[in-house]
Point group: C2
Chain length 153, copies 2
Amino acid sequence: MSTNRSTSDLTAHLGYWLRYVSNHVSQAFARKVEAHGVTVAEWVLMRQLLDVDALPPSRLAERMGMTRGAITKLADRLLAKSLLTRKPDPVDGRAQTLALTAKGRRLVPELAALADANDSEFFDHLAPKDRAALVRILRDIVEKRGLKSLPVD
Amino acid sequence: MSTNRSTSDLTAHLGYWLRYVSNHVSQAFARKVEAHGVTVAEWVLMRQLLDVDALPPSRLAERMGMTRGAITKLADRLLAKSLLTRKPDPVDGRAQTLALTAKGRRLVPELAALADANDSEFFDHLAPKDRAALVRILRDIVEKRGLKSLPVD
DNA sequence: TATTGTTATACTCTATAACTATA
DNA sequence: TATAGTTATAGAGTATAACAATA
């Protein structure tokens, strides 16, 4: 945005609107998944594991754009809820392997349904064209700006 | 999004992309303003006060979509940095009045410049049409979904 | 009684840095 | 030495609920 802009014209910042809307959408989603005993961050981690069976914390950290320490903490909580398993890698003695438990795998579709519902709540009123544009533009930013690793790829 | 969607098709969630991009944009902005000793939330609060001179915590809470307690905490920090003043309302003995100090008012344009720079970094590569569409769509969601009060307006 | 603001408490999210075990 | 992971610590960002002062 290299357009001329007065100091007080603050709502012109795209980052501002993005944050504002995103916070509301995420908070609404958080309230929904809370009923299932998980947080949004925990859901994102679980989701990463659905397609791949198992991943080491380091790979999850890359994918989610977080530190390994943060992953450990998230994993600890999911472990305590019996949604995740943590096993030593048989090959590399330093590495660990995180995978969903059966309970975790069962929970994912339920949470996905909540994500669907949340999306509907906030985006269904948009014209299909706008909805498509929004996804396209966001993905474009991720790609072009090289945001830390693509989430699911 | 009432489109048919398989459970594993997770990146189809708009809320997901929104959160992902927004988090990156905000984190980058946070690193920039940090050099000036403030956080993003503090900046948003300061910004609210630029145009209006003074507001009670309750009004700020409405505008920012936060609780009064959260505002108190933010204000405490800005007070400690001499960027804000807190004075009892002369009319209503219960009310307080928050306003920027001269130092605070001086800081706002500097932070606004950083917001500009951050926007540029993430959105300048977009086609002008897409950039406009993004703002329009986001504002539309805020309006139509009635997200807690419009931020500045 | 209702409202304004503050305080107390508690979590989540996340980072940085130190540390352990292994490679 | 370098890497994988964990742990310790800390602070931001919030929320809820209890409380004090005033209306």
